[in-house]
Symmetry: C2
Subunit: 140 residues, 2 copies
DNA sequence: CAGGTCATCACCCGAACGGGTGATTGCGCG
DNA sequence: CGCGCAATCACCCGTTCGGGTGATGACCTG
């Protein structure tokens, strides 16, 4: 959110600068009798740089915050909140007993949650679950 | 390799197109008596688009092949090539038996390699090994 | 209220995993 | 050549994991 806000501001500023450059070039044409070709080359170079810069910002903002733990896949697979918590700790390399301790529940409860996770992810063990969950961007 | 090759070709093509556009605009100026401002705006728009496009391609090619499986950490930890192969398959969620089948060795061999990996990574089970290997950029 | 979902816990059993020891082969290095 | 190291395989033993079934209570929804 913050980033796209900043992006918009910066882009607007760049456009304003571009307008200023255009005015300046117009002034050069009328007063200093510049060659048209040189002016065009200058404009081309400036706006190419502007485009590269904005392109970088666009892609960066498109790539960096890309893993909001996509709720789409979570709900599409019917993974509950508790199961997602177990999945998170699972990916950290904790054993079932450690997960149980972190969530203040019994070891059997963790096993049940994991069984449901395996069914929903269509896997048969924890390492496959980690692999698939990462592929589906369910975990960071 | 292939991608950067293609990138270079496409960039050169874009430059050639830009030159053609400049020629075309020059023609318009002389023959059709276009307004200079309109021409500049056209050039600006075109080169902004060109910049965004090349910027996208540059960042894409800069981001994609960013994880070379850093040999530094591998050698620093004393992980042999065979152990690295086992680690790779381990992270894919395969069981020990499946890893053994992929590498055409015995199940006991895989267990030995994994024991060595656990010692070198200072972990105690496979999920922790995956977690730490990913943190150390040993696996994709 | 009846039905469904979720979270919780229990038990059992087979499979997989982890750790340890020991052994053999091949390869490079001093 | 002798040494170390990587790779291979075997055996034993205890722990963990995975699957199945069953059960309870809380909550929501029609």
């Amino acid at each position: 959110m913050k980033q796209s806000r900043g992006l918009i501001w910066l882009y607007g500023l760049a456009l304003a600068l571009g307008a200023l450059v255009l005015q300046w070039l117009d002034y050069l044409y009328t007063v200093r009798r510049f060659s048209t070709e040189i002016g065009i080359v200058i404009v081309a170079a400036l706006f190419t740089a502007l485009g590269i810069w904005t392109g970088n910002r666009l892609t960066r903002s498109r790539i960096a915050p890309d893993f909001e733990k996509n709720t789409q896949a979570l709900s599409a697979l019917g993974i509950s909140e508790r199961e997602d918590q177990v999945l998170e700790l699972l990916a950290k390399g904790l054993t079932n007993q450690q997960i149980a301790d972190h969530l203040f529940v019994s070891l059997n409860t963790i096993k049940t949650h994991l069984s449901h996770l395996y069914q929903k992810l269509e896997v048969s063990n924890r390492t496959q679950a980690i692999h698939k969950a990462r592929a589906l961007r369910l975990i960071a």
